[in-house]
């Protein structure tokens, strides 16, 4: 899931203060699960903005709406009327949702209310951690399902850096060394021999090279 966190209220108010009617638009998918942009968060942020604006004497009306998914045109239609009624949209979706909205509603300013942070999982209640860097060329099969690209601070692909202490990362001692985890996992599943093969440099062409990436499936095109 995509994990995001809210911007603070003074920053949000600075972003939207030039408008009189604002729609705070939530998204019912990833950001609902990571408690950043669902119905409840829309309600809290809308209330906060109304109060903060009133304290500063700004005439700001805030409408609240949450749709199922902001990154999908089909669902974006459900927000059409509300967007029309308002001067601007503060999206509590991820970066993809914000941009989908901006493309679909070309004449409305659309602002991001969240900082989209990473692709990750709910580690324990209230704790989310990054698990995938969306590098475009997955190597998880080589490393026992533990991603050195994401979870090793130095993105090492051929063994640990030798800076780790016990099982802790030298860059951040609060983090586990990804290579310690990879070694243990490969040992547990009897695949330690995978580590004997030298991995060539990773192909970063499939990552952030040459602008945005797209996938085309001819079998699904109409």
């Amino acid at each position: 899931m995509i994990v995001a966190q809210r911007k603070n209220i003074p920053d949000l108010l600075a972003i939207v203060k030039s408008h009189k009617k604002l729609l705070v638009l939530g998204c019912g998918t990833c950001v609902t699960v990571c408690l950043a942009g669902g119905v409840r968060e829309v309600s809290i942020i809308a209330s906060s903005l109304r109060m903060a604006a009133k304290l500063k004497g700004l005439p700001l009306e805030v409408e609240e709406l949450t749709i199922e998914r902001q990154c999908d045109n089909v669902f974006l239609e459900q927000a059409a009327d509300a967007i029309k009624r308002n001067d601007a949209v503060l999206s509590l979706g991820c970066g993809a949702g914000v941009q989908a909205l901006a493309e679909r509603y070309a004449d409305k300013p659309v602002y991001a209310g969240l900082d989209t942070t990473f692709i990750g999982i709910l580690e324990e209640r209230g704790v989310w951690t990054e698990k995938c860097a969306a590098c475009g060329a997955c190597v998880l099969h080589e490393y026992g399902g533990i991603c050195p690209v994401t979870r090793c601070a130095k993105h090492m692909l051929n063994g640990p850096c030798s800076g780790s202490r016990e099982d802790r990362c030298e860059v951040n001692p609060e983090r586990q060394c990804a290579w310690q985890l990879i070694y243990k996992r490969l040992k547990d599943i009897g695949q330690l021999d995978r580590l004997k093969k030298i991995k060539p440099p990773k192909n970063w062409n499939k990552s952030q090279s040459g602008g945005y990436r797209s996938i085309i499936r001819e079998d699904h095109r109409v």
Binding site: I9, P10, I44, S47, S48, M51, A52, L55, K56
Partner: protein, 148 residues
């Protein structure tokens, strides 16, 4: 509203299993507490969503009091601990907004604590009285207020 005429309006969310009963007990014991509180009975403070505190203040409450069971004594095991974390989160947000966080407070009482409840309510009313009216009301009444 002038400060000297100001009577705070406090919304008190009281858990059915403790604070609501202790308010009852305070009544039976003829213990006085200020009439500034409006009590709402809730099944558990863990039932309270963060937006309730926000909406109460937005709609003109001068203070919001959350009264739950003693820690370790929740009828639903840990509802009051959830409430405590939610109250702390919203107190942080109130600071961001520019409202005194003291307007939102959580207290813990048992059903037998009629007198401590009355003292807590008195203290909350006095705290809010010192803070003055909810600044949201001063800068133009909220929708609900202006309809009256």
């Amino acid at each position: 509203m002038k400060q000297e005429n100001f009577e705070p309006k406090i919304l008190a969310f009281c858990c059915h299993y403790c604070a609501y009963s202790s308010a009852d007990l305070a009544g039976s014991m003829r213990i006085q507490y200020p009439p500034n509180v409006r009590i709402i009975r809730t099944p558990c403070t863990g039932r309270l969503e963060t937006e309730y505190f926000m909406k109460a203040l937005e709609n003109g409450a001068d203070g919001v009091l959350i009264a739950g069971c003693l820690e370790g004594g929740c009828h639903f095991v840990e509802g009051n601990l959830y409430a405590k974390r939610r109250v702390n989160y919203i107190r942080q947000m109130l600071e961001e907004i520019g409202i005194e966080k003291e307007r939102l407070r959580m207290i813990n009482v048992s059903a037998a604590m009629g007198r401590p409840l009355a003292e807590n309510i008195t203290d909350m009313v006095e705290t809010v009285r010192k803070l003055g009216p909810n600044p949201i009301k001063q800068n133009g009444a909220s929708k609900q207020e202006s309809r009256k």
